[in-house]
Amino acid sequence: MSHDVNPLVILVASILTNNILLVYFLGMCSFVAVSKKIETAAGLGAAVIFVLTATTPINWLLNHYFLEDNALAWLVGPHLASKVHLGIFALVFFIAVIAGFVQIVELVVERFSPALYYALGIFLPLITVNCAILGGSLFMVEWKFNFMQSIAYGFGAGAGWALAILVMAGLRKRMRISLVPRGLEGMGITMIVTGVMAMAFMAFNGIVPV
């Protein structure tokens, strides 16, 4: 992927063909834990969409103006900037931004939906360490997106994750009345179904040129 890809294409690609959960298998922990009920899955999905959409462009700005090679030229001049490499701080910067936004999400959820707040429990603050979120920021750097592309990618990755957990919650709702072999109940069958879903999503390959 590069600068000339239309952000809309990136949006579709990150939801379907490059789904952050079903293709890269990031954010599995809360995906398995919170997909038991559709309402909580939708709540966590929305929270992840918000955090990814907000943090990916912010981290893009941080990366572009502070962390990249020569990024500091606007601050300290081109000569010094070529010698200072802040790239080593990337992980710390990214995770600080993510942690900050998760705090805000927590405040919002507690205010507007106490029932969801209790239902999500520890998994709400744990969005901070949801690898899908940090993964979004790191992929955005890796693939050299521009700012608009990073917005599209952040939202798309979040929407893809929310889509996956919602589908999973829907399937698990049906699964409650189906006969699952004793040893596979719960976690086991969830992992298998996730694998099958991932294969199904491969069918989307080719609908966008990335």
């Binding site: 500091l72 802040l86 600080a96 405040l107 205010r111 029932a115």
Partner: protein, 367 residues
């Protein structure tokens, strides 16, 4: 050159952290600020409170004391109120305490309801007359090796209007609780006519927060109590026979009822059955025997279930419900009050039902 990398790196990281902290503070200001909310109680004039804290806490700040033993952690299930409007959805922490019908009726635990908007609630009228008292210990004595009797003098306010058989709550300092204190409920053992004092009888529970606190009280200690609570209504008819059966700290409310009856209706027939293990567990016996000599209509039976071989005890032995079975003949007009450990209460209820008493005629308190 390496140094400048660190300086710029640390500097910009600090800048970022400050920025994020500022953002969170702003969000907190707007999101956690609920402004002023109105709480309407039983269709009365609404209270205006600062939103954001629990209903229990908001009511407490406005001198309305809902019983609560756990300090707002949704473990005791005491602070039941009916929320008619504005409490939000019932939380998973509350559902175990209510039946489906109660959930439909809007029952909630006041400690779990956050006041975020105007709310309307319904609480038993008696909670509204509950007051908080500053008190001072005027006597504290051991009745047995594990039973203490403590008497408080009410200072502010100095008068309590309690019905016979009601209870109070004592504010117990507790470092583990988020509020710094918990409440523990104890029956009033002093007469209702003694309106300036409150006495309790408390059994030491190993590791118990409340009982340990009470057992270590000394004269002149300052203690905060709230009360009176309790739904029990004594039938004041002087001809109505009153049966009291209990054990251990169940003595407290029974002592209260006996003295009340002997004072207000001296001819009223009253029978007290008290079950204990051994002679070491006996207290108040002499006091009641003296009272029985004065009042022919008052009968007292103490029975010991776990008598030691060398004991000098000449009185009845065995479990107390067997004595109730043998000696109690239900008259036409009757009232029954049981207070003690659950197995004892259950055994007595079985005996009374066999004697033809209906379930709703028996008032009991198991603990």
């Amino acid at each position: 050159m390496m140094l400048s990398v660190y300086l710029v790196g640390v500097g910009s990281f600090m800048g970022l952290i400050l920025l994020l902290t500022g953002l969170i503070l702003v969000a907190n200001k707007y999101l956690a600020d609920y402004g002023e909310c109105k709480i309407r109680i039983n269709d009365a004039e609404p209270l205006v409170v600062e939103g954001g804290s629990s209903l229990l806490q908001s009511l407490y700040n406005n001198k309305i004391f809902i019983p609560s033993a756990c300090g707002g952690q949704a473990t005791c299930g005491e602070c039941r109120v009916r929320v008619l409007q504005g409490g939000g959805e019932i939380l998973p922490t509350e559902t175990p305490f209510f039946t489906r019908a109660e959930v439909r009726a809007g029952m909630r635990l006041a400690c779990q309801v956050k006041v975020r908007s105007d709310v309307a609630i319904e609480i038993p009228e008696e909670y509204l007359s509950v007051q908080q008292f500053q008190t001072e210990v005027i006597s504290a004595r051991k009745l047995t090796y594990d039973m203490a009797e403590v008497r408080f003098k009410l200072i502010d306010p100095d008068t309590i209007e309690a019905r016979p058989g009601q209870y109070i709550q004592i504010k117990v300092p507790d470092e583990e609780s988020p509020d710094g204190f918990v409440f523990r409920a104890y029956s009033i053992s002093s007469k209702p006519s003694e309106t300036h004092e409150v006495e309790v009888v408390v059994r030491q529970i190993p590791g118990g927060k409340g009982s340990t606190y009470v057992h270590h009280m000394k004269v002149a200690d300052k203690v905060e109590i709230t009360g009176p609570y309790g739904k029990f209504k004594l039938n004041e008819d002087p001809e109505c026979h009153l049966l009291l059966v209990g054990g251990g700290a169940g003595m407290a409310p029974m002592k209260n009822l006996i003295h009340h009856c002997m004072e207000t209706t001296p001819q009223r027939p009253v029978e007290l059955y008290f079950g204990a293990r051994s002679t070491e567990d006996i207290f108040y016996l002499e006091e009641f025997e003296a009272l029985a000599k004065e009042h022919a209509n008052f009968k007292v039976v103490y029975a010991l279930s776990d008598l030691k071989e060398d004991s000098k005890w000449k009185g009845p032995t065995g479990f107390i419900h067997l004595h109730v079975d043998k000696l109690y003949h239900p008259p036409e007009k009757r009232q029954v009050f049981l207070c003690g450990p659950p197995p004892m209460i259950n055994a007595v209820i079985t005996v009374l039902e066999a004697k033809g008493l209906a379930e709703d005629e028996i008032f009991y308190d198991k603990f």
